[in-house]
């Protein structure tokens, strides 16, 4: 490990890897440090992504556990709604194998020239005259100071590095989704469908997911709101009840736990000498909890902006703001803003109203699937929508 790099990246997940690759490809020196002994493990993810991932990286078949052709939504009363690609505008996605995927993304960064160190952890930020200048790193029993013109914080949901730089990254208790997932085998599933179960009894202010990992195997998991979580009613309790009902004979071959933020993104994702990306910047989707693509997109953008700013000799907050401005005005940034508002509406909906929505969507003519038609028909069957959630129409307009 050198004691000075152009860019130091804290965290070797998809955000950090994409940043490292972008910086190295710009011809600058960079280093990824990962506190775990292995990239990609343990997994803390349901591994689902939309097909827009291919805009960021050429997908290798060996990263993919399952190709997803549609989604099945199960309402609290058991009614189902199947969304297939024709209806959803040809959206298909994948369930990744992140143990392989994460490692290969880091390989790409390493092949481009980025240094990588595992079991190496940032323990504090080096700050001089208010500017982030590097990090103190614990690696193999040694403590070293590593300096950099720009530090990219890609340290995931914990988001400690930005906190050490004076940015409050605390997720409000009501806006953390607390999650447990089992990788299960020997279960009856449709390998081309991802299923989502809704309802207060199933998963209060969250959902249960069944994400196919192939024939007869899936990630079966749950996220519930932190404010609904208590002794005896933790996500693991709900998940065990779900599995007892749906997959009593399935085998659990992996236990995965995690927290996903469903809050607004950090008010500002840069500081002097610092860029914050992915989950660390609170960029996971407030509705789905998905964060892989957002981390990859912002990681890549952070690497590019860092390289530009270093070339021009100005790594101040003002110069790095280009990153913040660009992701906020991107499709991702606008989507996060809209989905936060939609989430705020949906977590307040009672089960009978969710049932009613799913029931009326099932009555629709799915051949005419456009937003205006959808809203008009939904309101026809559910006139309370306009009164209860008047903002919904405005959001979807």
């Amino acid at each position: 490990m050198q004691n000075k790099y152009d860019v130091l990246i804290i965290g070797g997940g998809p955000g950090g890897a994409m940043a490292g690759k972008a910086v190295a490809e710009a011809g600058l020196s960079c280093c990824i440090i990962e506190k775990r002994p292995a990239i990609g493990a343990p997994v803390r993810c349901a591994e689902g992504v939309g097909n827009e991932i291919s805009e960021l990286v050429d997908l290798d078949p060996k990263w993919i556990s399952s190709k997803i052709e549609g989604a099945l939504l199960v309402a609290p009363d058991g009614q189902t709604l199947e969304l297939n690609p024709e209806m959803a505008g040809n959206e298909v996605g994948y369930v990744l194998d992140r143990k392989i995927f994460d490692r290969e993304l880091v390989w790409k960064a390493a092949n481009a020239g980025c240094d990588v160190f595992v079991k190496s952890r940032a323990s504090s930020a080096i700050i001089k005259d208010g500017k982030v200048c590097g990090a103190t790193i614990e690696s193999g029993g040694k403590t070293v100071e590593v300096y950099a013109d720009v530090v990219i914080a890609a340290d995931g949901v914990e988001s400690k590095f930005a906190r050490w730089c004076g940015i409050d990254t605390t997720v409000p208790m009501a806006e953390i989704e607390t999650c447990v997932q089992y990788l299960m085998t020997d279960i009856d599933i449709d390998p081309g469908l991802n299923a989502f179960y809704l309802g207060r009894e199933v998963a209060p202010e969250g959902y249960v997911w069944i994400f196919s990992k192939g024939e007869r195997t899936a990630n079966v998991g749950i996220g519930i709101s932190g404010k609904m979580c208590k002794e005896g009613k933790r996500p693991k309790d709900y998940l065990d009840a779900f599995i007892a009902e749906h997959f009593p004979n399935g085998k659990i071959i992996e236990l995965i736990v995690g927290g996903v933020s469903a809050c607004k993104p950090l008010a500002c994702t840069v500081a002097d000498g610092l860029i914050i990306v992915g989950d660390a910047a609170r960029l996971s989707d407030p509705i789905t909890g998905g964060g892989i693509i957002n981390a990859m997109y912002t990681g890549k953008l952070a690497g590019e902006v860092a390289a530009e700013c270093i070339a021009s000799g100005d790594c101040s907050k003002k110069a790095l703001m280009k990153y913040d401005t660009e992701w906020r005005s991107s499709k991702m940034g606008k989507g996060l803003k809209r989905n936060y508002q939609v989430k705020e509406i949906f977590i307040k909906l009672k089960d009978e109203k969710l049932n009613s929505i799913v029931n009326s969507v099932n009555k629709l003519d799915m051949e005419i699937f456009d937003t205006k038609y959808l809203i008009r028909e939904l309101v026809k069957y559910n006139p309370w929508l306009l009164k209860d959630i008047g903002t919904l129409k405005r959001l979807l307009d």
């Binding site: 952890r121 400690k160 050490w164 208790m173 953390i176």
Partner: protein, 59 residues
């Protein structure tokens, strides 16, 4: 004081993200609490997906 049940903890870091004082830290594959900074608010023990954190009274 906050007690970490290591045999229950899945070292996911969810608690770290909600700690208002930055008192928790996930080091590699184990969780630590800095008793100097912990204000015993109990938020981490409430949201833990597995129930690995317990707030015990000092007496």
């Amino acid at each position: 004081m906050l007690v970490i049940k290591r045999e229950v903890c899945g070292y996911c870091g969810a608690c770290v993200s909600v700690c208002p004082e930055g008192a928790l830290e996930l080091v590699d594959a184990y969780l630590t609490v800095d008793p100097e900074n912990c204000i015993e608010c109990g938020i981490c023990s409430k949201i833990c997906p597995l129930g690995a954190l317990e707030m015990k009274n000092a007496e």
